[in-house]
Symmetry: C2
């Protein structure tokens, strides 16, 4: 990798990526559900293409920019999984006019009323999934709430098609055991199936019953009543996922290549050129059993070096030290040494970079660009 | 601002920007020092131009990409303020060949030896500032260390010009009072002046004695022996600076425009479309007296609304709640309402965006692009 001199840069191990995708495919295979990968983690055409053996399958997006980008690249079945607000109706309508099979999400009567009005005045045929709250994590309507039916009636009376329900077990990221992840998976499935039943009894024929989070998707034991699974970070994995027991550190497909620029020997510090600009400020492992600082330090082959982690960051400086406080551990890495840092949160770290330097079997394969923005 | 529909977007109040720059200029005027603004905060030509009444003054950069960009835009006097490592020698040499007056920084004998070797073999006339550690914050050589002289001799014997010393009072960001900032300012000045004296006695004639941090620059009372001041965040300010007492909340020039997308009324939550992707994961105020969460919530005119802050973020969702826990405070902001979030850390939040939507006197003036990467 001698050509990667302008460190820090983001590396992507394509072999690990492919292995992680295969694992999810194999996990879901017995359940007869559709995988609708969340592309917010990768924001990259070349990565997203690897989710699908052939063609362009259904995807989940977190921004309309992602929808624009992937639609232009031939993906048509797109779920925008953030509650729609009126300022974005026109943008969504443009995508529909262009031929996108775009599905919107909402969880409240105000948004529904505004969308219904816009649909009437614009004549645009919107399709909506109602968002269900399975764990009190963030957004969504309680699964037993008659508000679901009220909103569905309001929308359908204005020609908006209510095609399904969706939920996200965000709290599964805070699990302390695999048993707890399994419990969140049951809760996630139960919530959305209950909501679908309520709507079904009110006369709504739903074609999409959608759940999704990487931990629950990989440890679910029952997907009866579910039609599709959304997940994103499983393709890359990260230290938060490893801390949950969802993957091994050796499965993490993204890392930041950095260079040693100095030392503070008496403190046991190695200074590198990867700060928060390259690693992100994400400290997702801080609340886990093992706090990985700003990331685990590996050699160029991706093997962790002793118990070294990034313990502090400034914008373009990272401070590496030994977790056990052994100052001698750091002296073996002279100025100029290149290291790889495994990230706390792949979505956040990858977002700090304009693309991936892709490796396969240790060789540099090429550069896959990312996009950003809204 | 009705055209800004694709929220979240980054706003920049040009009037506040100009006021903040004027304040720094007026503060430094009596001291007869050069202001060498750090452009890592803004990474934008239009912002950087406003630091200088006319022409292209000296700047500080945190990446060689910044050096490339600003040199191409006509800035020649550039200090790259992160310790140079051998993988970047060739890039730095290219800039020198193109005519940049590029100054490098280093703080250890290994880097010095490698640079000396490269200088000999390439024939390139490098210029170096030695980095001094004034507060144990990060990098640098102790100001009384004879290592300074040893390195200076090593470099100058190989034709590398040692033109100065520099330090950064990074610990001033953790101050608990203005008196403490003033003490850090004294310490910062004293360290670099002591180092310069040591080198002077060894026969080195230094033209640059450089210090810099926004808090110390704005509260210094003595800059004798100092030739230049570096600072960056002062142009934008942020909640960390306001928490230090360095600025007022009303001075903060950057904010993130976001839209209400839903509520969880029983929890007192407003859900908005600005998550960590738009706000960054920076939690710089967490260790201050007042923890501002992920930012203070303002109306469209920039006035804070009650005691609302962003209390939690996911990638594209923010949760706003009342600091006092009053759930009724949140119900006055219906879906579609646009809000402005003041950031913890301007450098980190701005880095999440591709440019600034610039306002003056409340009007939308235009779009100023940012760049990113290394």
């Amino acid at each position: 990798m001698e050509e990667l001199t302008d460190t820090p840069v983001l590396l992507l191990d394509r072999d690990r990526l492919d292995g992680n995708i295969l694992r999810m495919r194999e996990k879901l295979a017995p359940f007869n559900v559709t995988l609708r990968p969340h592309v917010k983690t990768n924001k990259c055409l070349e990565v997203t293409e690897r989710f699908f053996a052939d063609g362009r399958g259904p995807i989940t997006v977190s921004t309309l920019r992602e929808a624009d980008f992937f639609f232009a690249a031939g993906f048509t079945d797109i779920l925008y999984a953030v509650g729609i607000s009126p300022n974005k109706f026109a943008h969504a309508a443009r995508l529909l006019e262009q031929g996108a099979d775009l599905k919107l999400v909402l969880d409240n009567i105000e948004s529904a009323r505004l969308l219904a009005e816009f649909a009437c005045s614009s004549g645009q045929a919107f399709e909506v999934l109602l968002e269900v709250d399975c764990d009190g994590h963030r957004s969504g309507i309680a699964p037993q709430s008659t508000l679901l039916v009220e909103i569905a009636h309001l929308l359908s009376h204005s020609g908006v098609r209510v095609s399904g329900v969706m939920t996200h077990a965000g709290n599964s990221y805070d699990s302390r055991s695999i048993a707890e992840i399994e419990a969140y998976a049951r809760q996630e499935r139960a919530a959305v199936v209950e909501a679908a039943q309520l709507l079904n009894e009110a006369g709504f024929d739903l074609s999409i019953i959608s759940i999704g989070s990487t931990p629950t998707a990989l440890f679910t034991q029952d997907l009866s009543g579910i039609t599709e699974v959304r997940a994103g970070v499983f393709a890359f994995f990260d230290l938060v996922m490893a801390g949950l027991g969802v993957c091994d550190v050796q499965d993490i497909a993204v890392s930041v290549l950095t260079t040693v620029i100095g030392h503070q020997p008496e403190k046991g510090w190695i200074i590198v050129d990867a700060g928060w600009m390259a690693l992100s400020r994400d400290r997702g492992t801080a609340k886990q059993r093992v706090d990985q600082g700003y990331g685990i330090v590996c050699d160029l082959s991706g093997q962790p070096i002793g118990d070294l982690i990034v313990t502090a960051v400034n914008q373009e400086h990272g401070i590496i030290s030994s977790r056990s406080g052994n100052p001698e551990a750091v002296l073996v890495l002279p100025v100029g040494t290149q290291l790889r840092i495994l990230p706390n949160h792949a979505c956040a770290t990858a977002a700090q970079h304009s693309g991936y330097h892709v490796l396969t079997e240790g060789r540099h394969l090429g550069y896959w660009p990312r996009f950003a923005g809204w």
